[in-house]
Chain length 261, copies 2
């Protein structure tokens, strides 16, 4: 009985006694996580700056459709990149938390991303209808549609499987454990699709707003739009690096054991 | 001595005696590899069809700059998607080959991708210069530039480290083994950047060639351009799935042992 208690404790957190991390590894970890945090917050801040400085801010009114459109890039970047990015990285950032808290934070960050994506989508749909522009004709909209669909399915499946099914903790442990890699793989795919949707959207916006000729002269606004794209690419690179680094992951024994919570 | 021989043999191939694959696993493997092959060949075929059917084919002449431009999407899709895609998947497709042959095939596929990317880049550079259009102003060109740079670095590093350093096989084994995950991670990143460059490029091309109004009516050519983009997204999903599936990988002991070759 005395022996079982510490094992139980360890299985519920990301901390592993067996694998002490060296100073060098901690430095790399801290550096990469800080970089990811700065980029994830920075890309949304840059999008808001672009909107206020070059596109006259936000609105939701029939007589100001252009300002209403501005909600679309801002909320989609916030939803698909900033909140979703943090939500993915939580499993690497909060290594010393109990797993149930990380799960709840993961769900909360996605719950923050959800209204951003829905309102961001409604903003452009309403803008198109007000201006008499067709919906869902461009490659950007097709990618975005698939990304939104995957996001919704992932959220519903994740919420029911990893939170609600905890009511029947032991009976569903195997099912939940087998679902983890599928949920993780589709989560990364949704994130990458979100990145692709943002990049094609920024390309469209630059050409629609600046026009091909002005854009080719690379005015200040063009640089800002490109910089948002570059920041998204940098986030993609950092997220892929962090996710692929086994050393950043919780100990594999902990991961398997902790699926019970 | 008798015992060492079969171990040596196994360490040089992807075949593992310890892990026999079930019928279900083989079915999934065959299905996914077939799907990847069809998509990788299909996307290049579709791009060539688009060029001949809607864009009047290819040329490299001062009086036909538009036809010269057509080399750009075709060769970039061939280089960054088809050849690079096969090159990445070789490590999952050729599981029963000796590792050195897989390495050589990997190098050959990248050697095929290399001139495609170089000529594809020169085609658009020359087109821009002939038409008096600025170079490297768009987000697409920035992403493409980074993707090309990474591709070049990866090729040089890979060629020297994993092929030339075999001259000093034992002395460099540890160095090469430590380089494998870095080379693999940057390889996937290069592939994803290639995908992003293709998608933003297709968006630009649709808007430049069809114009915003015609594109929004979704003419046949718009559907074909979008279909190329969707095929690229499907390839990305399948490649990420195959790469993430541990079951498709060679046995981990084989992987470590086979780094000697």
């Amino acid at each position: 009985m005395v022996l079982r208690f510490p094992f139980k404790q360890r299985s519920r957190s990301y901390e592993s006694d067996e694998h002490e991390r060296g100073a060098c590894e901690w430095c790399e970890y801290a550096l990469v996580i800080t970089l990811a945090t700065v980029l994830l917050i920075g890309v949304s801040a840059l999008t808001i700056f672009w909107t206020f400085f070059y596109r006259e801010g936000y609105a939701w009114a029939d007589e100001l459709p252009e300002k209403q459109f501005n909600l679309h890039p801002t909320l989609m970047v916030a939803g698909f990149i900033t909140f979703s990015g943090f939500s993915v990285l939580l499993y690497r950032i909060c290594r010393c938390f109990r797993r149930i808290y990380v799960k709840l934070l993961h769900a909360i960050f996605h719950a923050l991303a959800f209204p951003c994506i829905v309102i961001g989508f409604l903003a452009v749909l309403d803008f198109h209808n007000k201006k008499g522009i067709n919906n869902f004709y461009s490659l950007h909209s097709w990618i975005g549609f698939v990304a939104m669909g995957l996001f919704g399915i992932q959220y519903v499946v994740g919420f029911f499987s990893f939170l609600l099914l905890l009511i029947c903790n032991k009976g569903t442990a195997n099912f939940r454990a087998s679902l983890v890699p599928i949920h993780a793989a589709f989560g990364i795919l949704t994130f990458v699709l979100g990145v692709c949707a943002c990049l094609t959207g920024l390309t469209e916006k630059a050409l629609f707003t600046l026009g091909a000729e002005r854009y080719s002269g690379l005015p200040d606004e063009g640089v800002i739009i490109n910089a948002i794209g570059v920041a998204i690419i940098a986030i993609l690179a950092v997220v892929m690096y962090i996710v692929s680094r086994n050393k950043f992951k919780a100990d594999s024994r902990d991961m398997t054991a902790s699926v019970d919570l």
